[in-house]
């Protein structure tokens, strides 16, 4: 099967249209960010608290909100999380002015009290207590009368029982009543009876809780920016060294910035939240976009070596056509994976996958219409102004690097980089 058999599409003909489209997308993004809604930062960057809870029954968000308002935690956001039938909720609390407040504990207390009313303080909440607490309580109560027996260690035995009970809770989602504990395999009747008498099933299970202080938020912001900046610099340095040409390097830079701007803008438009994982996706997309650009550039470089009088415009067009099949196929394969992640990977990976989806499309497009087009535009501009070409990069022919050889194949003659000055000479 083949999608593209020796195509000969004049991609570059539409370069000005493409540039217009790119600018339109970038401006939409910038408008969203700076005028409309701004970037939504996750607690990784803004600081604050995020808690995910799983409820026994479909939670009434408005009711939960009234409970939390009474806790006086400042701005609180509550939204559904994951699939609706899972009854999961994400609670977000703004950064507290006072240090040392245990926001997670306060939120849990407020919700529990609101939903359940006063509870017996002596009963442990089966759904929010952890393994270690349960084990400690069991050991202290010793329902199986193990203390004094020589064949078992009470603490270990009870710890094992606690572990089984908590694992059972994970299987069930949560315990609706203390009687549910009876369905745990490998737990003695004595323990079950004790649990029945001394525990209560709270209305929710704590899935995760995150609390990020303002200092860490700032640090993470700085780190994220540094990571994006440095990896961009790193890759562009690589391209500069590998291709030894100003327009190529410039094309790659502009294409990268272009992809980042459009992707970030679209994420803002979709109201997606920026967190560390999204930054990871952005960095991956920078790598991916440059990767795509490099494939086209590699082909252009190779085609420029054939001693034929052919205008750069058509060399680049031909190169794009030659790599088109690969570009579409690779993007398609990666896209399949990302789509699987988008639909099946769960809430945490959802924005990550969306970022890459946008990035793959934009990155593929930009390697043709930004990276390659800029090389053409740059040369047009140069010849238009009839400049005597002073090759800015590598005026002295660089030593020809031997190409890395394929494991057993012959040395590849085409891979040896040539000084860019030569290309420009041919162009004149």
């Amino acid at each position: 099967m083949e999608f593209f058999r020796q195509t000969n599409i004049d991609f570059l003909k539409y370069r000005w249209w493409a540039i217009g489209a790119s600018w339109a997308l970038i401006l939409v993004g910038l408008f969203t960010i700076f005028v409309q809604k701004g970037l939504k930062f996750g607690i990784d960057f803004s600081g604050g608290t995020a808690i995910t809870l799983r409820f026994a029954d479909r939670p009434d968000i408005d009711r939960l909100r009234t409970f939390l308002d009474s806790a006086q935690l400042g701005e609180v956001g509550i939204q559904r999380y994951e699939e609706a039938e899972k009854n999961e909720v994400l609670v977000r609390v703004q950064q507290q002015a006072h240090e040392g407040r245990d926001v997670v504990a306060e939120v849990l207390r407020a919700l529990r009290q609101g939903l359940q009313g006063p509870t017996d303080p002596n009963k442990i909440d089966l759904n929010t207590e952890g393994r270690a607490t349960l084990a400690a309580r069991l050991t202290a109560a010793d329902p199986d009368h193990l203390v004094g027996r020589t064949d078992v260690t009470p603490a270990d035995t009870y710890a094992q029982a606690a572990e089984r009970i908590i694992a059972r809770r994970s299987e069930l989602g949560l315990f609706r009543t203390p009687a549910d504990v009876a369905s745990t395999a490998g737990v003695s009747d004595g323990i079950k009876a004790w649990m029945q008498a001394n525990t209560a099933a709270g209305p929710f299970v704590l899935l995760s809780a995150e609390n990020v202080g303002p200092q860490v938020g700032r640090d993470l912001q700085k780190k994220a920016i540094l990571a994006v900046v440095w990896s961009s610099i790193g890759m562009l340095t690589y391209i500069a060294l590998r291709f030894r040409s100003v327009p190529f390097g410039l094309g790659a830079i502009v294409a990268t910035v272009h992809d980042l701007l459009i992707t970030i803008g679209l994420l803002a438009l979709f109201g997606r939240e920026f967190n560390l994982i999204v930054v990871a996706a952005l960095l991956t997309l920078v790598g991916y976009s440059v990767n795509d650009t490099v494939v086209v550039y590699d082909r252009v470089r190779e085609n420029l070596k054939t001693p034929k009088k052919e205008p750069l415009y058509s060399v680049i067009n031909r190169s794009i056509n030659q790599t088109l099949s690969r570009t579409v196929l690779t993007s398609g394969a990666t896209m399949l994976v990302v789509i699987a992640l988008f639909f099946l990977g769960g809430e945490v990976l959802n924005t990550f996958a969306l970022t890459l989806m946008i990035g793959i499309i934009v990155g593929t497009y930009s390697s043709i219409y930004v990276a390659a087009a800029i090389v053409v535009i740059w040369k047009d501009f140069q010849s238009g102004r009839k400049l005597a070409v002073v090759p800015a990069a590598a005026p002295v022919p660089a030593p020809v690097k031997p190409a890395p050889a394929a494991p057993t194949g012959p040395i590849v003659p085409s891979a040896a980089p040539r000084p860019s000055g030569k290309k420009k000479q041919r162009r004149r």
Binding site: T133, A140, G213, L276, L283, Y288, R299, L336, A340, F352
Partner: protein
């Protein structure tokens, strides 16, 4: 079969065997370490345990704490003031002022024996610089000494937290110093944030100080002093609220502690004959000396046990205590146990604040694994189908290479003890998507060569040769971005970078070396090939 081909096959076989064998071996090791029941881990356990899971998949607690190093510096300053006062008792010092954490000023009058002050400063305060003039002596802590103090405060805090966590019985805890004053704590498999935080929180700054007044209300205590200002050598502290009482109680205690956490050697919960829970504690040699002198001189007075600047209790000194003593009070068994733990692990030389706290419950981790694995399997199958449909026989070649890539990636992660996180799973599957790129580059080249009229075998050789430099370039760019991600990323994101880097390096081997070998295996034997299925 050519000699070269046989050699290539041998390399692939050895790599595969090494990878699988290594993975299973490491899996056994991990499983053995965690094994508690009778017998030993099975082969299935070994397969499950090969790769370390990150906190986001395994469940657990991640904390970043900051050591308030200023506390240690202040304690040192208070210590210096006290030393100076004690050693110059008959020198008639003027009032002492404490303008900053690292300086103090001693006033002098006509009666002050200044030679004595200088002598004491020289002998007992080597870490302080001093100057005189304007009717006062100004002491400043040397920078070197301050840095050393801060540094040791952090190291000691790390050590203390480690001891506490060990008591808690966590497998594979991570307690590490980060930067100048931060501590990273990671406790996999722990789902009890409250309990852990209580334990670490109580690992606070511990002091035992003599009570001057209290318990009483704030107003009553402060009112005793002229102008409502508590003198510098004393401090007002809040007491732990008594159960059932709403009014807060306060104490006035001496600023200079009798002993601090540093002087404690051990502590354990005990029960007396009446069945009441109490704590037995033991002191170090220097601690015994200090404590003996202070308790001997103050029998009948109250001694405040101060944790995190809060008075936990203020028992009566019944006798002179040197090496060991008992703290009695109305403790529940859990409280006695926890207080003993606090004392035993030694309290910190400086307080702590929480900068970051992340808890992942066990059910979320399981859920994430299930989803990540489902998405990966579906993604991989989609890619495999696409490649086989598009490239037919050669597509199978690519699928083989990709599967090998996945196996090698898993075992490399086990060998490097890399941690798999949820974004790491995404990285894993993304690697599969990107590794296909190399195969696509090669296959498209081969097709081009075939179209150009080259004989099949030459087309294969040329295809591989010409795609090579592009493959290097594409891999290099992504690896560069992943390296920076690794450098600047934290936790889960780091896991993503690691998976991506390892996966890409492996894909150079599988897509080029392995695929080439499979082609050779398929077409190399025949003397003449008319077509290749690509």
């Amino acid at each position: 079969m050519g000699k070269k081909l046989r050699w290539r096959l041998l390399v692939i076989l050895l790599v595969l065997l090494g990878a699988v064998g290594g993975y299973v071996l490491i899996g056994y090791q991990h499983a053995q370490k965690e094994w508690t029941g009778p017998g030993g881990p099975t082969f299935k356990d070994a397969l499950k345990k090969g790769i370390k899971l990150g906190l986001d998949l395994r469940g657990g607690i991640h904390l970043v704490l900051q050591v308030k190093t200023a506390d240690a510096v202040k304690a040192e300053r208070d210590d210096a003031v006290e030393t100076l006062k004690n050693e110059t008792k008959d020198a008639n010092l003027g009032p002492v002022e404490l303008p900053t954490d690292t300086t103090f000023i001693v006033g002098v009058t006509e009666k002050t024996d200044q030679a004595k002050v200088e002598d004491v400063a020289k002998r007992f305060l080597p870490d302080w610089t001093y100057s005189t003039g304007g009717g006062r002596w100004t002491f400043a802590l040397k920078d070197v000494a301050r840095r050393a103090l801060e540094d040791s405060a952090v190291s000691q805090a790390v050590e203390t937290i480690r001891n506490r966590i060990d008591e808690f019985g966590v497998s594979e805890p991570l307690i590490a110093r980060e930067g100048s004053d931060r501590i990273l704590v990671q406790l996999p498999g722990i789902d009890d944030p409250k309990r852990v935080k209580d334990l670490i929180k109580n690992t606070a700054f511990l002091e035992l100080s003599l009570v001057e007044a209290g318990p009483s209300t704030q107003a009553a205590l402060v009112g005793k002093y002229p102008g409502g200002k508590v003198p510098d050598e004393l401090k007002l502290l809040e007491g732990k609220p008594l159960p059932g009482e709403r009014e807060r109680t306060y104490y006035i205690v001496r600023r200079q502690a009798v002993i601090t956490g540093r002087d404690l050697k051990n502590a354990r919960p005990t029960q007396n004959q009446m069945g009441a829970h109490s704590i037995n504690f033991f002191l170090t040699a220097t601690g015994s000396q200090k404590f003996g002198a202070a308790t001997g001189a103050n029998i009948g007075r109250h001694l405040a046990i101060v944790l995190d600047n809060k008075v936990q209790s203020a028992p009566n000194i019944k006798d002179r205590i040197t090496e060991q003593g008992v703290i009695e009070g109305s403790f529940s068994p859990e409280e006695a146990n926890d207080l003993a733990l606090v004392l035993r692990a030694g309290a910190l030389p400086a307080g702590l604040t929480y900068l970051e706290e992340r808890t992942v419950g066990p059910s979320l981790g399981l859920d994430s694994i299930r989803k990540g694995v489902t998405a990966s399997v579906v993604g991989a199958v989609l890619v495999f189908v696409a490649v086989v449909v598009y490239y037919r026989r050669a597509g199978w070649n690519a699928v083989l290479a990709l599967i090998l890539n996945a196996i090698l990636l898993l075992s490399a992660m086990a060998l490097f003890e890399a941690t798999l996180t949820l974004p790491g799973i995404a990285g894993f599957i993304l690697t599969i998507g990107m590794a296909v790129d190399s195969n696509v580059l090669i296959f498209e080249r081969i097709r081009e060569e075939l179209r150009g009229g080259r004989a099949p075998r030459a087309a294969i050789e040329n295809g591989f040769a010409k795609a090579w430099s592009t493959i290097i370039d594409t891999h290099a760019t992504i690896i560069i971005s992943a390296l920076f991600l690794f450098q600047f990323g934290t936790g889960p994101v780091k896991g993503f970078a690691v998976t991506l880097i390892i996966g890409l390096v492996i894909s150079m081997f599988t897509a080029v070396f392995v695929s080439h070998t499979i082609f050779e295996l398929e077409y190399g034997r025949r003397s003449h090939i008319d077509t290749i299925s690509i």
